[in-house]
């Protein structure tokens, strides 16, 4: 199963439309979590809001995650050690307030955590690649160092 997600804040029709088109070439189920879009999918099952536990369950069951370049999406895919393709939102198309998703995508790709598609053609090639593997792993432990450092340093202020 491929789990597609665009987060909980803003619609992302350009992406969902591309996914819907690519879906005709894919031989496994696709579930897309969408948000307030106007585009109606023909080939993909969509769901609106997902509770965090439902969201995590789909993350766990999926073979592949395809999403916007939101950190919630990226961190969740990494946590479940799934390969993830991200498709950044562009501010010039009204898909976000600014282009931080483009920068996040580039940096996360440089650091070796995610596959990135910047256009529909790259998205199609990556989704149709059946051998896409999870990349670098997250450290499994939540950090005690970071929060300890923060508590110590604020306690001194």
């Amino acid at each position: 199963m491929i789990f597609v997600t665009i987060g909980t804040q803003i619609s992302f029709d350009r992406f969902i439309e591309a996914i819907d088109e690519i879906a005709t070439l894919v031989d496994e189920p696709i579930i897309a979590q969408v948000f307030k879009g106007s585009y109606q999918t023909k080939n993909v099952k969509t769901v609106d809001f997902l509770n965090p536990d439902e969201f995590n369950k789909l993350m766990e069951e999926a073979r592949l995650i395809v999403g916007h370049a939101g950190m919630g999406t990226i961190l969740s895919a990494l946590k479940y050690e799934k390969p993830i393709i991200i498709f950044p939102r562009m501010a010039s198309l009204g898909e976000h307030r600014n282009d931080h998703q483009m920068v996040t995508a580039m940096r996360m790709n440089e650091l070796g955590y995610v596959h990135v598609a910047y256009d529909r053609k790259q998205l199609k090639t990556l989704i149709l690649n059946k051998d896409l593997q999870p990349l670098k792993k997250l450290n499994t432990d939540p950090s005690s160092n970071m929060i300890d450092f923060i508590i110590n340093s604020v306690s001194k202020t």
Binding site: T8, N51, M71, L78, P142, S144, M146, D148, I150, S153
Partner: protein, 153 residues
């Protein structure tokens, strides 16, 4: 430990919340944590721990920050945290403001999504909180600290 540090940890649903959960370590015996988010369903991810919600808002429906501010005051007065920490977004900023107003120590941890510069909320927070953290070493300044990030740790 008799004098446990009481932490109020605040984040909006989505990436901010997921980052907060990776940073806060509930198993630390010297810290007790209360969580605050913008959606009741976030509670399933911190089961068995104290959890509150405030209403969500953004720059598009700013008027909602007034009731959120008063609700935050109430929660802070009840829980009496030593430190209030937020990973964003705008609702976290309002909670930090309420915490500051009540004389609590306040910390802003900017989202790792802000690679090139601090977020708008982070910039505002840095004007009044005790400490502001970035998750990118390249953005560190004498005033904006770096203590690692949710990826590496």
């Amino acid at each position: 430990m008799e004098n446990k540090v009481k932490l109020l940890a605040v984040a909006s649903i989505g990436g901010h919340w997921i980052q907060l959960l990776r940073i806060i370590n509930p198993n630390n015996a010297e810290v007790s944590v209360t969580y605050l988010s913008t959606h009741p369903k976030c509670e399933v991810m911190v089961e068995g721990q104290k959890f509150y919600t405030i209403s969500d808002f953004s720059r598009w429906n700013f008027y909602k920050l007034i009731p959120a501010f008063f609700r935050a005051l109430k929660i802070i007065q009840k829980e009496r945290p030593n430190i209030v920490v937020s990973t964003g977004a705008a609702p976290g900023l309002v909670v930090l403001l309420a915490a500051k107003f009540l004389g609590k120590k306040t910390v802003w941890i900017d989202s790792i999504a802000n690679v090139q510069h601090l977020s708008l909320s982070g910039n505002i927070a840095s004007k009044f909180v005790n400490q502001t953290f970035t998750q990118w070493e390249s953005l560190k300044t004498p005033k904006i600290l770096y203590a690692g990030n949710v990826l590496e740790q």
